[in-house]
Symmetry: C2
Subunit: 314 residues, 2 copies
């Protein structure tokens, strides 16, 4: 029995996973506190519950994999703005709390690991992922292994430059994909249209000037209602999303490109097809390669399943 | 004694290389004919001359590495427009002509292999290269190995999209880096300015409406003379070059980014510094990473040295 845990900004999911990769038990808790110890203690409870649901003994679990929304170097979470963490020694803390060996990894990396194994790709395959949520997360696998890069900064696919001299990005630069395709970017554009330009939109009832987040479902509802502003900002996001996907495909020629995250989950295949339509004309030499682009197959479970996988392989 | 050969559109260079990587002998010939057999026969002569100059016996050479300006799959050169080749079984032909085992590889990949080993990077390092010449060639090394990708199309860094809806590229797409930073792109812009818009420029004496190529030295001379048009088109090329470099650095976090090719060699450090200045503000999290970007250390020898290297390692 393997245990994989996904610690997100709002919820913590623990899965008990069989050696064949099947989910045998699960437990979900809100991520309430912000202190690392409190979050990890709740994660440990969730893990016990998931293993219990699977009808197994927690004593038999040798190693636990944990995904966190942060860059991770040697088990230390560097910066997790969503949790308010900076340089938190998650592995050390978790090994104390769980009483067993723990592998800690960036959540987007784990999401791609989960999808990579679900897709049954060969060990020499290359893959990348774009997770369209609050930000635009990214990850790269080469020859079956997570690409970390020289300073642990590889896979920042939200910071491919898609518009020279373009919009300011939260990272401090300009023209990044994340400045066009992220909930943060969409919200900023919508607020500016509503409250600076006085645009009419069904979104006016849903969004206030001081909102700092927007739910994907709010965007989807306005999109489905044919709201002009929603259409405009989401379509722009998808256009740039496609350019970013195409650039990485021309650079890496991956066997799999996973599109995921809250916004992709909310908009579903319509968004995936639109991004593919934008990307395909930009693929070098062989546009049929667009077929490697697909929506997450594991949905919400991808990160925790990837965590269980790395718990097994170390 | 190892032999590495660089078959280019205009010249063929053969190097006899010691096991320590030092050049012991060299021979250079014009690439005159276009028939694969004739080109390979001249390459074999050049190889013999280089080995002779090194004071060694050609009989002792077990394997030969050859770089060609084409994508290579299983020893077959897929498409080499500069040589007029399509689907040429170079390895098979060369093994017949050389009478020994031959390794055939794309020239840009070999150039990066040469530079990678010259830089003494560790086996788990990542690197990429941009070669600014007639086109914009690219290559990627991950964990010390050339990244080929699912269809052998990885490393097409000239086809990162740097301008949405931008200029038409020779590849049939639009907005690619190569449509802004390649001699082909610069020449198209210069011809349009001179002959469509009637712009004044020192380049008028150097370039005719039906020219299909421009020498890097012609561009450099006009640049040095402060010619407005030359400054404008080269500066634009460098700006987009910087964006492409930054995008790949955010995706891969490489330990080395090599800038090379005829235009970089002609413009020298001034161009490398300018590209770095353009790229640095776009690097995610750590702009100091720009220090990994550098000009080719091996210059014209990089491809043949990389060929000798792969001849040894297979």
């Amino acid at each position: 029995m393997l245990v994989g845990i996904d610690i997100g900004a709002t919820k913590t999911v623990a899965l008990a996973v069989g050696k064949d990769g099947s989910v045998r038990g699960r437990s979900k808790k809100r991520t309430k506190a912000r202190e690392p110890e409190a979050i990890l203690e709740r994660a440990e409870k969730a893990a016990r519950e998931a293993v219990k649901e699977a009808g197994a003994s927690f004593k038999k679990v040798r190693r636990v994999g944990i995904g966190v929304p942060a860059g991770v170097l040697d088990g230390v979470a560097r910066l997790a703005p969503q949790l308010g963490w900076q340089d938190v020694p998650v592995r050390e803390l978790a090994e104390g709390i769980f009483g067993r060996q723990v592998v800690v990894e960036n959540d987007v990396n784990l999401g791609l690991v989960g999808e990579f194994h679900e897709a049954n790709l060969g060990p020499l395959s290359t893959a990348c992922a774009f997770f369209f949520g609050t930000g635009m997360g990214g990850a790269v696998i080469v020859d079956g292994r997570i690409l970390r890069g020289g300073r642990g900064l590889a896979g920042e696919l939200g910071h491919i430059i898609v518009e020279p001299g373009g919009r300011a990005c939260g990272c401090g630069n300009a023209g990044c994909l994340e400045a066009y395709a992220s909930k943060t970017a969409l919200l900023a554009r919508i607020k500016s249209a509503l409250f600076d330009e006085g645009r009419e939109s069904a979104l006016r009832d849903e969004i206030s000037p001081d909102d700092r987040v927007v739910r994907s479902s709010v965007l989807k509802k306005a999109w489905d209602a044919g709201d002009d502003l929603a259409r405009e900002v989401v379509e722009e996001g998808m256009r740039y999303f496609g350019l970013g996907v195409a650039s990485m495909m021309n650079g890496l020629d991956p066997d799999l490109v996973v599109l995921g995250g809250g916004v992709v989950e909310a908009f579903g295949d319509e968004m995936v097809e639109s991004v593919k339509d934008q990307a395909a004309p930009h693929l070098f030499a062989d546009r049929e390669r667009i077929s490697v682009v697909r929506r997450t197959a594991l949905g919400d479970d991808a990160v925790a399943l990837g965590a269980a996988y790395v718990a097994r392989t170390g």
